[in-house]
Amino acid sequence: MTRPRHVLTALLLVGLAALAAAPGCGTRPTTATVPPPAGDAWFQDVTEEAGLDFVHDAGAASSFFMPQAIGSGAAFFDCDGDGLLDILLLQNGGPGSGSKNRLFRQTRPGHFEDVSAGSGLDFDGHNMGVAVGDVNGDGLPDVLVTQYGGLRLFLNRGRGKFEDMTERAGLQNLAWGTSAAFLDYDRDGRLDLVVINYVDHDPTWPCNAPSGQRDYCAPRTFPGRASRLFHNEGTDKDGVARFRDVTTTSGIGKLAGPGLGVLCADFDGDGWPDVFVANDGAPNHLWINRRDGTFSEEAVRRGVAFNGMGGAEAGMGVALGDVDGNGLFDLFVTHLTEETNTLWVQEPRGFFRDRTARSDLAKARWRGTGFGTALLDFDADGALDLAVANGRVSRGPSNANPDLGAHWSYYAERNQLFAGDGTGRFRDLSPSNPAWCGTPNVARGLAWGDFDNDGAPDLLVTTAGGRARLLRNVAPKRGHWLLVRALDPARKGDAYGAEVTVEAGGKRFTGLVNPASSYLCSSDARVSFGLGAAATFDRVEVVWPDDRSREVFPGGPADRALTLRKGDGERKGTKP
């Protein structure tokens, strides 16, 4: 009876081997895993060594209070005028929570100290967005914070101290404010203010996903709100800026929308600043300045209200930059995971076309709900690159990481990084950038600033209910660079809205002095240029915002920070 036993054994072995070799059915949805670092990473997480120990308080996770999901912003600005960028991070725990905003002063290069206590900016609340600008012309950057149901203006009193002047300044906004920006819309030399409002939220209204699971309300649950425009009327005898609410008379109050992102720039090429508002799940608004204190909404005609398929998407963060080197600014807006982020290329002047598919941005290695975003030349090769901070707003598959609680793990996604080639096409570098993209997070705000003044733009990202992170740009094989600050002596500060063009290596690189972009954030007011192989630049041209005067400054060696003052350059007439 040995043979049958052999046969039996053989059959069993064959069966077992077959079972072992059987392929999986592949029907289970898989959770994306973090890819191993590969290639040359562009960013290094320096949060801890920089002394930035900020954890965002979004309030009680179980409440599904809609403002939690929107997150809070941050600002990179030099609060004390010592030439080093400082950082303000906002909290969203609500009034009485004790979770206060924190101001971190950069005391020596790369090292931040918490100077919140007594700064005046250390207050709690549902703090959303931040805008930075010198509203009273004293040469010190002032701070505006938007809130769920309010806003607050703080005048910089020097040495890192701020004073709440909201009421005296005549500012009021009862709605849910999100992003905000300072701009000089009437070119009178004083910074005016636009505040974007989100939805007419009802805090007593519960929302559920189609499965019945509790979740954050979608924006369509509530009607959108109109943005607000405040005109700077000048300062009173105590040096306090006074604002007048011109929302209705300017026309900006005529249309409501669930606004989240804002970007002020000259979109139609007439030399006057316009206002783009990214609306969440509704057509975007492009308020074109009519040069008489009023605005007309022209997003549809100019091609930026909807995507190329005619659909309104969930607009969140906004970035502006010339991605194809034609000298015209292009527009990038972040959207939901289920949509694509959209790149509108400007062609011809004043008109835009959805070129997302052609840019290869739709072929990303992974998708996400984009919030903060930045178009910058991180590797200084002369072509703008793109960073996108991601995190869901509706419950998705769990993406646990040690920094996230159980609640936020269902909203975490990985960030993205794309390298531009200067022709409007992008290559996904996310898998090879683990510090920025490797760990799922619920990212919201994204501010850029060259905090170590090495000419390489660094990133600061905020997350809902998690840690804020500082990422130092360590891109290898960086090209040459220039960091330009455009100052207007009459304003005693940065010339917001100035257009800066650098000529180097036979190319022209254009940038805008505009710290208010991305999402809920304020970034470095300087303009960062990557010059590629050009070790010198031929000249810099600045078109100043108030009188549109054009000045040319002489060239020189690259790889340095330049401060250009209005009046010091060679005047070359005006530009419309």
């Binding site: 079972l19 007593t204 709100r225």
Partner: protein, 452 residues
């Protein structure tokens, strides 16, 4: 060994071999059976949990039964578990490879979940299976064409959309997408012609207007561009194009959320009476503040203010601080006060206005930027001849929502009645600019006070 024993041994050996082969086959079959996706049901509606659990149990028990995967896939798609639904439709396709609906539904779920690249392969398979003249055959070609277009694959998109056009030459969605194809090729004239045809359909009129505004601008026809932009303001959102396959899925919806979606659909189409009927059913079966608030809103719009009051009070009995219920209560009381005034019942009217004020103030205590609650407060105070308080409340209404015409209108009227005609005119002009063109009230008010 005798021949008989030998035969017996051979037979026994064959029996053992057959049993083992059968066992191995069964083991292989069991091991490679399609497995259902894992579904995160934590916190889901009890009806959804129960239905999904039952469907999951069935596919585990009958892993090779098409109907089981069909049911689970559609149930998951209806409950918005799109990735999980796509996994089920993939199994259904393996079991029934000649049927286009499975790869189509898989592709549709992936595409609408944002995974357009993954959606392309199943959609291509579905389109390849749909070559007949039946109207439903248009659907896979149209969906595939749309996804390809969004991905920038213009040539293949045009090919698919042309096939769809052959099957249904007047399909407005096909025409509009072909207009987008032409635009991508800078053939602006063709794009305009096709989009103008699509504009005639209520299914695509809004998207067509959006596209025409951009095309006309590029063609240099600024007047037409401005005209199309203006028209958009009065056009409703285009409905999703009728997709019979997806509708099959949505019919499988269970739980409150599915019924809420049904109600939303009826409301969007202006079929309020039908929405009210379903809301009453839901309210009876499972009382919920949101249902009562929806009911109050619809009854108010239908002019049944007593019914709206009752529904709002029912909502408040469940959630006493519900802002929308308080606002709708105030609104219904104010409307009833107006009615009593018209019937010359001053005491009844006064009582209603006073009650409306209380409810509006309660809403504002919970939501200080509720523009319409400020407005109702102002209107009720005005009826009680508390003019200054009324104007203050109406100013706050305008401050909270400068984009709404009614607060401007009522503030303008209140100011005019108080003798502040210049400021009144400003607000009446704003009301006129913001109101729909067919709203006669702001113009009438302006004419009335311009004469003074």
């Amino acid at each position: 060994m005798t021949p008989r024993r030998l035969v017996l041994r051979v037979l026994l050996g064959l029996l053992v071999a057959a049993s083992l082969a059968g066992g191995a086959w069964y083991g292989w079959h069991w091991h490679t059976r399609p497995l259902p996706p894992s579904v995160d049901l934590e916190g889901a509606d009890a009806a959804v949990v129960s239905a999904v659990d039952a469907a999951l149990t069935r596919v585990k028990r009958e892993p090779y039964t098409l109907a089981a995967w069909d049911d689970l896939g559609k149930l998951l798609r209806a409950s918005d578990y799109r990735a999980e639904a796509a996994a089920c439709f993939a199994v259904a396709e393996r079991l029934d490879p000649a049927e286009p609906r499975w790869p189509y539904l898989r592709g549709e779920a992936l595409a609408t979940n944002g995974d357009a690249e993954a959606a392309l392969a199943p959609l291509r398979r579905a389109a390849a299976l749909c070559v007949g003249p039946h109207a439903d055959d248009v659907v896979p070609h149209l969906r595939l064409g749309e996804v390809l277009l969004a991905q920038g694959q213009i040539d293949e998109a045009e090919e698919q959309l042309s096939q769809a056009r052959e099957a249904d030459p007047s399909n407005p969605n096909v025409l509009l997408n072909l207009a987008l194809v032409a635009f991508a090729r800078d053939d602006l004239t063709t794009s305009r012609t096709l989009a103008e045809r699509a504009r005639r359909s209520p299914l695509t009129q809004r998207r067509a207007c959006v596209h025409l505004a951009a095309v006309c601008q590029r063609l240099g026809d600024e007047t037409a561009a401005a005209d199309y932009s203006r028209r958009l303001a009065s056009l409703p959102t285009d409905p999703a194009w009728p997709d019979p396959y997806v509708l099959e899925c949505l019919q499988r919806a269970v739980g409150q959320a599915g019924r809420f979606r049904y109600v939303e659909g009826r409301e969007a189409q202006g079929r309020l009476a039908e929405a009210v009927a379903v809301q009453r059913e839901i309210a009876k079966e499972a009382p919920d503040a949101r249902v009562f608030v929806g009911l109050a809103r619809n009854l108010s719009q239908l002019g049944d203010h007593a019914g709206a009051e009752e529904a709002a009070r029912s909502a408040l009995s469940l959630v006493p601080d519900n802002v929308q219920a308080l606002y709708l209560l105030s609104k219904s009381l104010w409307a009833q006060g107006e009615g009593a005034e018209a019937r010359k019942e001053p005491d009844a009217a006064r009582g209603r206005f006073e009650a409306a004020i209380v409810a509006a103030r309660q809403a504002l205590a919970r939501k200080p930027d509720h523009a319409l609650a400020h407005m109702l407060l102002g209107l009720s105070l005005k009826r009680l001849e508390k003019r200054d308080e009324a104007i203050a409340a109406l100013r706050l209404a305008v401050q909270c929502a400068p984009e709404l015409p009614d607060p401007h209108l009522h503030l303008g009227e209140a100011l005019a009645e108080a003798g502040q005609v210049a400021e009144a005119r400003t607000h009446l002009k704003h009301a006129f600019e913001l109101a729909r063109p067919d709203d006669p009230r702001p113009r009438a008010a302006l004419e009335r006070y311009n004469d003074r």
